[in-house]
């Protein structure tokens, strides 16, 4: 199968200081990211997620190992034309307006002059940035920076979109809307790769996940397979009484099944927050 990104035995050492002390950021990592899915790369701070993405994009050279991106052996300019990237903690030329920035990025990504205006407005619309697009980027809030970053990453209609912590510093309403943008991309058949520390969100958004620790891969698979415990079952019961419970327990026991825990379902703080709050003023 032709993968969007495939990484084979990737190792990356950084040299630190003048004595050339080596720091292994990525250690013999192998990954295959299928096309058309949302792929989450998880792991604690400093485990090498961003470094892996930078190697894939050719911004940093690999110490050992091979990568291929969209069928190309490395991040050639042809491959990068079909890729969009949002770096972590993005920061853009603050003297440009949002629209100027997206336009500049579209030009550099090879969008034809005749399609430029439409592409820029589409991307701004997708990121819900039309209103603020005329303001200098220096005046943007963190959430707006992330969204203008998202707009510049998708303006040239790339096949592969790489987002490094797209929701860092964004409020739950904003990150839910980024989640929707990501799904919109997947529905158009794009591949999305993202890093995040918000596991709840990753669970909702991603089809597959990989978990890294100290530069190594510790788990990889489809979210469904990884998370579901097929030997356990959860029922949600309304209007339960002690007698009903005793009867149910007896009935289950008769078939060799056993209830191991009874709790009340909780809603997440995020759901509660979203129920109560309508949206930030930037949105």
């Amino acid at each position: 199968m032709n993968y969007a990104i495939s990484v084979r035995h990737l190792t990356k050492d950084f040299r630190i200081g003048i004595r050339g002390l080596k720091l292994r950021a990525v250690d013999d990592l192998s990954l295959e990211i299928p096309r058309g899915q949302v792929y989450g790369l998880l792991g604690p701070n400093g485990c090498g997620k961003s470094t892996t993405l930078k190697v894939v994009l050719g911004l940093v050279s690999a110490t050992a190992g091979e990568i291929s991106i969209l069928g190309e052996p490395s991040a050639t300019s042809a491959a990068r034309r079909r890729t969009g990237f949002l770096p972590e903690a993005p920061y853009f030329h603050k003297f440009l307006t949002g629209r100027e920035l997206v336009r500049y990025c579209a030009q550099l990504s090879g969008v034809a002059a005749s399609e430029l205006d439409a592409a820029v407005e589409d991307a701004l619309g997708l990121a819900a940035m039309n209103e603020a697009a005329g303001r200098p980027i220096g005046t943007y809030s963190k959430g707006m920076l992330q969204r203008i970053g998202f707009a510049q990453a998708v303006v040239h209609d790339p096949e592969l979109i790489i987002l490094d912590e797209p929701t860092a510093g964004v409020d739950p309403v904003g990150s839910a809307s980024i989640g929707r943008m990501i799904h919109a991309m997947r529905d158009k058949g794009k591949t999305v790769v993202l890093c995040s520390h918000l596991l709840g969100q990753v669970e909702q958004v991603c089809d597959r996940v990989a978990i890294m620790d100290r530069g190594k891969l510790v788990l990889e698979g489809a979210v469904e397979d990884v998370l579901s415990r097929r030997d356990r079952h959860v029922m949600t019961i309304e209007a339960m009484t002690p007698t009903a419970r005793a009867a149910a327990e007896a009935a289950l026991e008769a078939h060799g099944a056993k209830i191991t825990s009874v709790t009340h379902p909780r809603r997440s703080l995020e759901d509660l927050f979203r129920e109560l709050v309508t949206g930030s003023r930037d949105a």
Partner: protein
């Protein structure tokens, strides 16, 4: 090729915008302009060649000094603002080659210095012209031969100074592509400019016919690594006609400047290619 040129142009356009929207540029431009204009009030009143020379020395000195400061500090700043703010990450993840990025920075900064040199030379021309009119009138009354200045010479000087600043920018970019910090780049860049300015002295002072060929070769190479920046300073000769400058000499200075410029940009691109962003 056409796409490549276009991308370079877009980078340089944004670089130019970034530079001229900074206070640093406006500040140095105003400072240098004030220096040119203040030379009017500092009159020597000997109504001779000395006064125009004084005005020219003062004004071109400001252009030369502040232009060098601008070329070193601004170029390093324009480069490191992209690296430190990580905007380079966003840009270089696009179908943009490293040399295109570096060339874009170069042309953006060079255009800013073009504006700087043009504005100052324009002011300088007006000041010289106004004073010349007065001096000519005074000289006619006294029955002396008036001194004049050459507009063509001024234009040639503008081009030479611009070329000199282009060489400085190319050197600073080559240093930037290797350096980790802004401060290091500014310090080493300034040293390179000073060395370039004094290079011709070193060439004369250290070279004696009795020296061994190895030493001579070493000196030859090391003095060739740093361009002789003094050769562009022909203000007196070109503008006031204090000495005759042959066209051939002018052209050879131009070519040597261009050669250094291209060499340093190539070197910078090669180093920058391997840099980890």
């Amino acid at each position: 090729m056409k796409d490549s040129l276009r991308r370079t142009l877009w980078i340089s356009r944004v670089t130019f915008l970034e530079a001229v929207r900074q206070r640093f540029f406006a500040f140095l431009l105003v400072l240098s302009a004030a220096m040119v204009l203040s030379s009017v009030s500092l009159r020597v009143f000997d109504f001779g060649h000395g006064e125009l020379k004084f005005i020219a020395d003062f004004g071109f000195g400001g252009m030369f000094f502040f232009g060098s400061v601008l070329a070193v500090v601004m170029t390093a700043q324009l480069f490191f603002s992209e690296i430190d703010n990580k905007t380079a990450l966003t840009l270089l993840a696009k179908p943009l080659s490293r040399p295109e990025f570096l060339l874009g920075k170069f042309f953006g900064a060079w255009a800013v210095l073009g504006v700087f040199v043009l504005v100052l030379a324009g002011l300088q021309g007006v000041v010289l012209w106004a004073r010349e009119q007065e001096l000519v009138a005074a000289a006619e009354q006294a029955g002396r031969i008036p001194t004049t200045f050459s507009i063509v010479g001024l234009c040639q000087l503008v081009l030479l100074q611009w070329l000199r600043l282009g060489v400085v920018i190319a050197i600073v970019l080559a240093i930037s592509s290797l350096a980790r910090t802004f401060l290091f780049t500014v310090v080493v860049g300034s040293l390179a400019v000073v060395a370039g300015q004094l290079q011709w002295i070193a060439q004369d002072a250290f070279l004696r016919p009795t020296d061994s060929p190895v030493y001579t070769a070493f000196l030859w190479v090391s003095t060739r690594l740093i361009p002789n920046l003094q050769q562009f300073n022909l203000a007196d000769a070109l503008v006031l006609g204090s000495a005759v400058v042959e066209e051939g000499a002018l052209i050879s200075v131009g070519f040597s400047g261009l050669a250094y410029l291209v060499a340093y940009l190539t070197l910078g691109s090669l180093i920058f290619r391997r840099r980890e962003i």
